[in-house]
């Protein structure tokens, strides 16, 4: 008995939209049995995990605070991935944005009027863009694999940040601890609502809307998807592959850099040796969870943020290990990918010993 995946000649549009929802439902069902197996009331646990964080104003704020950097990163990455450019270095571009954006508050601490924030944000975006331009140019000029170059540049950026925060940019009044001076006045990102949601939420929403508009309504968006799906067809149509590599890398780097400076000037409030608990990589998950669609990414980012908050709630209320959060995120991804696979492929069982003649095999699982 052998199992084969056969590509479907046509796939259902409805299922493309439904698959993430089915995946979430499957995660909840599987989660039910996981909780049952570890001896916790499954309904209570699921309530704490998925619903309770949405019942209080402050935790909804916390949800947005957590989701904003992830969404910004993921929206940029989705453009890259649609154009078949595998930028997995958003974590490094995030750090580059944080570093470039911190130049003014650290080197010119006295400049703290409201206008400095504009300069910081511009620097952050430029920092991320320039850093993302490196793998893009290497790919255009030398055909270097952008997966390798962008990933390896993550470590370069992180180590450079580490060196800055420990060395030249360390706060002289900080007891030798590896942090920069705390930002103040106009160097801190203004709060939008409540006490923690900052204007970076507006940036994220604008990024989502603009990306959606560009992809659906403009020639550039059309070029991105044509070059991503059928590069040769794109070339015949006169679309420049190289221009698109540079453009998508610059946009995704710029958004990651913006997320970086917003994080440093917002919730963190200073430059530290590490500025991200892996938002650049979480962004990859969210980009795919949102089906590379900006609106989908917005909700996927909120869902992933919810999984962090829910995991903390379970630790506090039920004494369950934080590993459960990871298990849930893993299950969610597994089901999303499984559902996706079944949209494009169907499963066929083949009895061993029988070789259907005249039919090419498309792979095995």
């Amino acid at each position: 008995m052998r199992i084969e995946l056969i590509r479907r000649p046509e796939h259902s549009r409805t299922m493309v939209v439904l698959s993430p929802i089915i995946a979430i439902a499957l995660t909840v069902i599987a989660g039910f049995f996981v909780f049952l197996a570890i001896g916790v009331d499954p309904l209570q646990a699921l309530y704490i995990y998925f619903i309770e964080p949405l019942t209080a104003g402050w935790s909804i704020e916390a949800l947005f605070v957590k989701a904003v950097p992830i969404i910004l990163v993921a929206v940029g990455l989705s453009l890259c991935y649609l154009a078949n450019n595998w930028n997995i270095g958003a974590e490094g571009q995030f750090a580059a944005g944080a570093i470039a954006g911190s130049v003014f508050p650290i080197l010119v601490p006295g400049w703290n009027g409201p206008e400095v924030m504009v300069a910081m944000l511009v620097m952050g975006v430029l920092g991320g863009m320039l850093y993302a331009a490196i793998p893009a140019l290497l790919k255009i000029r030398f055909g270097a694999n952008e997966i390798l170059t962008s990933l390896m540049l993550v470590y370069v950026a992180q180590l450079f940040l580490d060196w800055l925060a420990r060395g030249p940019w360390r706060n002289p009044e900080g007891h030798n601890f590896p942090d920069s001076r705390p930002f103040d006045g106009g160097q801190v990102l203004p709060v939008l609502v409540g006490s923690d949601v900052r204007i970076s939420l507006v940036f994220a929403v604008v990024a989502v809307i603009v990306a959606w508009f560009v992809l659906r309504r403009t020639l550039t968006g059309f070029q991105i998807s044509v070059l991503g799906q059928a590069p040769r067809a794109g070339a015949f149509a006169g679309f420049s592959q190289n221009r698109m590599i540079l453009l998508t890398f610059l946009v995704s780097g710029g958004l990651a850099g913006l997320a970086g400076i917003c994080e440093v000037a917002g919730p963190i409030g200073m430059l530290r040796t590490t500025v991200s608990p892996g938002y650049g990589f979480t962004g990859i998950i969210v980009a795919f969870l949102g089906r590379l669609n900006p609106i989908g990414i917005f909700f996927a980012g909120l869902l992933l943020a919810l999984s962090y908050l829910g995991g903390e709630g379970m630790q506090i209320a039920l004494g369950i290990s934080d590993q459960i959060t990871r298990v849930f995120q893993g299950m969610l991804l597994f089901f999303v990918l499984a559902c996706d696979t079944l949209i494009y492929y169907r499963i066929r069982f083949v009895r061993t010993g029988q070789h259907p003649a005249g039919e090419a095999k498309h792979g095995r699982a």
Binding site: W58, H175, P182, I268, G269, L309, Q315, I316, S321
Partner: protein, 353 residues
């Protein structure tokens, strides 16, 4: 109208009193935030053992909970705030990187007590606490000087914060009290926990002639290298003899439990006050693992020094202390120690800037 107001006030008072007695009947909630997993076999596990002691000793009046593997930064703020909102009356944030988040949340919840480990910022409802680890470093300095044949120790360190610097200095002062020409070679690995880097550093130090290894990093890797080579070293934060039964001479163990019990009790009794706690061998926040793999006279010396430091916490600095350039460091008190950013004479390493 006045009567109505009075009645309303009376009713409000009664409601308040009822609410007060209801919450008093409940258990006090004490909460912890860990930077690593609660069972990491190192730093966070040490704090969790302390939490378990609170459960054991005050379990009838206190309920504990914790959140583990919390990244330093905005995530920590959310977790601390959530604990405060979920009814925790005292919250221990156990990593240096939680400092600003603790202060920020504490300002929003004046009725909740906060205790931040190893930091330096306090508030009316924020206490800092730390152990006088340097005391153990003086003892292991003396042991190292007695045990080393080459007269050279290798010292693996994480980041040049005052706590680490004072550890190096006190180790050296201890060693010099036995052998004035003692040498120490220092390797910075820029991480608190990185078994690969720590192990490589240990190998390099042994290859350069050190025959005893000291670490201010959390993994047992350096001791395991010492075990392989038939040499010696010291455990960090907890007794690591199970990893290196023949190599570990002793270990400087964190022992947070008694402190946690005392502070939670203070909240129960209403006597909790903001302070900067810095406790050592005397208060047993720091304890020495059994002195093993050494001659009896060295163990006896170590025990003797331990007793002396228990009586006089600043004993390592009672003599004249010279800085690396030979200048007099002057009298050394807690304030000098907590901001220490210079080496003592005899350390052959450029001070990291």
């Amino acid at each position: 109208m006045k009567k109505l107001l009075a009645a309303a006030a009376g009713a409000a008072l009664m409601v308040a009193a009822a609410a007060g007695s209801a919450s008093a009947a409940d258990k006090l909630k004490a909460c912890w935030v860990y930077v690593g997993p609660h069972n990491d076999g190192g730093y966070s596990e040490g704090h969790d053992k302390g939490r378990q002691l609170v459960d054991k000793e005050l379990g009838d009046k206190v309920e504990t909970s914790y959140v583990e593997s919390v990244p330093e930064g905005p995530d920590a703020e959310r977790v601390i705030e959530r604990l405060a909102r979920s009814g925790c009356k005292i919250i221990f944030t156990t990593s240096f990187g939680f400092m600003d988040q603790t202060i920020k949340v504490a300002a929003k919840y004046p009725d909740v007590k906060f205790e931040h480990a190893t930091g330096f910022k306090t508030a009316d409802n924020v206490t800092t606490y730390n152990a006088r680890f340097y005391q153990g470093r003086y003892i292991i300095g003396q042991i190292a000087a007695k045990m080393s044949k080459t007269g050279t120790a290798g010292y693996i360190v994480s980041v040049p914060i005052p706590e680490v610097i004072m550890g190096i200095n006190t180790f050296m002062l201890g060693a010099q009290s036995i052998n004035p020409d003692f040498k120490v070679k220092i390797v910075w690995v820029n991480s608190w926990f990185d078994p690969g880097k720590e192990g490589d550093a240990a190998k390099a130090l042994f290859d350069q002639g050190a025959d005893i290894i000291v670490q201010h990093t959390d993994s047992p890797a350096p001791l395991q290298i010492a075990e392989e080579r038939g040499l010696h070293g010291f455990g960090q934060a907890h007794d690591m003899s199970s990893f290196a039964p023949k190599a570990q001479l002793t270990a400087i163990e964190d022992n947070w439990g008694p402190y946690y019990v005392e502070r939670v009790k203070a909240v129960l009794d209403g006597t909790w006050k903001s302070q900067q706690s810095w406790e050592g061998l005397k208060e047993k926040m720091l304890i020495m693992a059994p002195y093993l793999n050494m001659p009896d006279d060295v163990a006896a010396m170590a025990k003797d020094t331990e007793a002396k430091i228990t009586a006089d916490p600043l004993l390592p600095f009672r003599g004249k202390v010279l800085k690396q350039d030979g200048s007099d460091a002057g009298p050394i008190d807690d304030g000098v120690l907590l901001g220490m950013n210079w080496y003592v004479k005899g350390i052959d390493d450029k001070f990291p800037q």
